[in-house]
């Protein structure tokens, strides 16, 4: 069994704060949107919780942003050349759609500088660089529609801004289930989750053997 130091402390702090906030935001959003059907807390409490959690999440986003802007590990988010990306993405989709069922090894091997498979790179770029900022902006506009009335009008009115906010919320309801499930597909169901606490990702020897030929594999690995 090999280990690699994959998740630096700032990333782990960001991840778990982000995860907590996202769960709270989804739950409070459901309470706000479906008051009467869901009555766990009052509407007002849910709104206040949603607002404060949103601001924590926005502040937390800058932990992630500042860390990666000041770290060479931002390479993890760099897109592959198109040919390499499509080949890697196809292999990854093939693995999830068939290989994983018959026991094929994961075609992607992680390093500190290449910790996302091609599908993850695209998805996380969309989530972190597009959807989260849009969600933050629309959330702030909805937080004080009166104060930001000019901006709300610019985007077509409060109903347009809210619809965009809700559409991204719906995506995250879908995404978070996929994210949690895929996080259980390590060599053990809790391997990836444990790594997000300790920072060290474990992978099996046959993966290491294959990865020895991979020139990008140059992280801080340790055999245990």
């Amino acid at each position: 069994m090999n280990v690699v130091y994959l998740h630096p402390l700032p990333v782990r702090i960001w991840h778990w704060i982000n995860a907590t906030c996202m769960i709270l935001l989804i739950l409070s959003a459901l309470q706000i949107r479906y008051v009467g059907l869901i009555d766990v807390t009052s509407f007002k409490t849910a709104v206040l919780l949603h607002n404060w959690t949103g601001f924590v999440m926005i502040g937390n986003y800058f932990i992630w942003l500042l860390f990666y802007l000041n770290s060479d590990k931002i390479k993890a988010y760099h897109p592959e050349p198109p040919k390499k990306f499509f080949e890697g993405a196809f292999r990854q989709m093939q693995f999830y759609a068939y290989g994983i069922f018959v026991g094929d090894p994961n075609p992607f091997r992680v390093t500190p500088y290449n910790k996302f498979n091609p599908l993850q790179i695209v998805l996380y770029q969309i989530v972190v660089l597009l959807l989260l900022p849009i969600q933050f902006v629309t959330g702030i506009l909805l937080w004080d529609v009166k104060h930001f009335s000019a901006q709300v009008d610019f985007f077509g009115g409060v109903r347009v801004v809210d619809s965009v906010h809700v559409l991204i919320f719906i995506f995250f309801v879908f995404f978070i289930q996929m994210h949690i499930y895929l996080a259980t597909l390590g060599h053990t169901p809790l391997a990836h989750i444990k790594a997000m606490f300790t920072g060290y990702e474990e992978f099996e020897d046959h993966d290491a053997a294959k990865s020895s030929a991979d020139t990008s594999f140059k992280g801080d690995t340790t055999r245990v």
Partner: protein
């Protein structure tokens, strides 16, 4: 629009001209009134007035007018003597009366309304400031529009019985003559009740909020909120202590919508021109000015019709300046006056922010009419929850209550789609492993 506008202007000029000349004449005549000699003493009619009262003091004295109506000519002498007008004497106002030719041989008054219209000039002679205020009112607009019930001076003030503070008590408020239903609602309000208490007897009667003479439609006054804040200046500050987005609520929700808790409420979507920053008038809006091919005004607008309406209005000048400004308000005027004590006001957010809230069961689209009052067209409540209305009703949204139904469907798909993926994937993995198809 031009045609009606010119008509209105012409009517206005005609009224002004008709009022102006006699007013000047009456002013000059007043200068000639032998005031001290004619004035009443000890609340008794003066000697000069006794001459008039010799006939006009008789009960039931009346005149048949050209249109067949009867005009009462009776004046109670004692009441007149106590009125603020008593010092002027009869001839102070009725300057055109010449005893040599009075009563006239021919019937020169066409109708009671015609007489009242002319009599306005007499009042204007001394009360030109009040006349000018009245001239800007909705009442004056209705008069110019030919409404024969719209009040002139004598509609509210009995000229032979005017005393100081006559309208100071609830029972004496002249507004009740026409606005009886609103008056009854007001009597049950916190304001009317407060007036019974000496410590809060300053609580408003009608004129406290609407003004006495320059009475405007609420839409012109910036809504009833402006009247409420006239006394309750710290209302926003007090609401901010407990109500999230209080300033937004103040913009979108009329005060009675919460402070008249038993009232039926509605959402009014006002057609608004962002460029001129004013509400759109009825002219040029097909749904309010029927024309061939336009939607019948008796039908309520659905989301598609509303979208077409907004698109049509904006296509006229290829802009997006025409928008809908939504506002939650009470459905009728009387309900707007049935204000309860603040302890009974609606303060539970879920009352409005939950699906099925009755506040959003009634929807109207409105424009401003010629007299400044709003003209409304019923709309389907579905316009508030339809995805088609995302742009057209972009200016009104109550979280939870008017949520877009299509997004609810997408949320269900998103949740169960995600659930189906991982449950399905997990199941297939288990099946491969269970039947020995997984090599590892």
């Amino acid at each position: 629009m031009d045609s009606s506008g010119h008509q209105g202007a012409a009517t206005r000029r005609a009224i002004r001209t008709r009022f102006a000349i006699p007013a000047i004449a009456a002013s000059l005549a007043l200068l000639l009134v032998p005031a001290p000699a004619a004035r009443a003493a000890d609340d008794k009619p003066s000697a000069a007035d006794q001459t008039c009262l010799g006939c006009h003091g008789a009960d039931g004295m009346e005149k048949t007018l050209a249109d067949g109506d009867k005009l009462s000519l009776h004046v109670d002498g004692d009441t007149f003597a106590k009125s603020v007008h008593a010092p002027l004497g009869c001839t102070g106002c009725h300057t055109n009366i010449d005893l040599q030719s009075h009563p006239p041989a021919s019937n020169d008054i066409k109708s009671a309304r015609e007489f009242s219209l002319t009599a306005v000039n007499i009042c204007r002679t001394c009360h030109s400031d009040k006349f000018d205020e009245w001239d800007t009112s909705v009442h004056a607009a209705l008069v110019r529009d030919g409404n024969v019930r719209a009040p002139l001076c004598t509609g509210c003030h009995s000229p032979h019985a005017v005393i100081k503070g006559a309208a100071a008590t609830i029972e004496q408020i002249p507004c009740q003559r026409c606005h009886q239903d609103i008056y009854k609602a007001y009597l049950g309000s916190v304001h009317a009740q407060a007036r019974q208490n000496p410590a809060t007897s300053y609580a408003p009667v009608c004129s406290g909020c609407h003004g006495a003479h320059a009475i405007k439609p609420v839409v012109t006054l910036g809504g009833p909120k402006a009247a409420c804040l006239g006394c309750h200046a710290d209302a926003l500050e007090k609401h901010q202590a407990w109500l999230p987005n209080a300033a937004l609520h103040f913009d979108i929700v009329s005060c009675p919508a919460c402070h008249a808790p038993g009232a039926e409420r509605q959402v009014d979507l006002m057609i608004y021109d962002k460029r001129s920053q004013a509400q759109v008038t009825e002219e040029g809006v097909p749904q309010f000015e029927p024309r061939p091919g336009a939607t019948d005004t008796d039908e309520s607008l659905d989301a598609m019709a509303l979208w077409r309406l907004l698109t049509g209005l904006n296509n006229t000048d290829r802009t997006s300046n025409i928008v809908l400004h939504g506002r939650l308000e009470v459905r009728t005027g009387p309900e707007a006056h049935r204000l309860a004590a603040k302890t009974k006001a609606l303060s539970n957010c879920a009352t409005c922010h939950s699906h099925g809230s009755d506040a959003f069961e009634n929807v109207t689209i409105s424009v401003v009419g010629q007299d400044g009052r709003r003209i409304r067209q019923e709309a389907s409540p579905g316009v508030l929850t339809s995805a088609i209305s995302t742009r057209s009703v972009g200016g009104f949204y109550a979280i939870g209550a008017t949520r877009v139904r299509l997004l609810d469907v997408l949320l269900i798909l998103g949740f169960f789609g995600g659930l189906a993926f991982w449950v399905g994937h997990l199941t297939i993995r288990w099946l491969y492993k269970h039947y020995g198809l997984n090599r590892s």
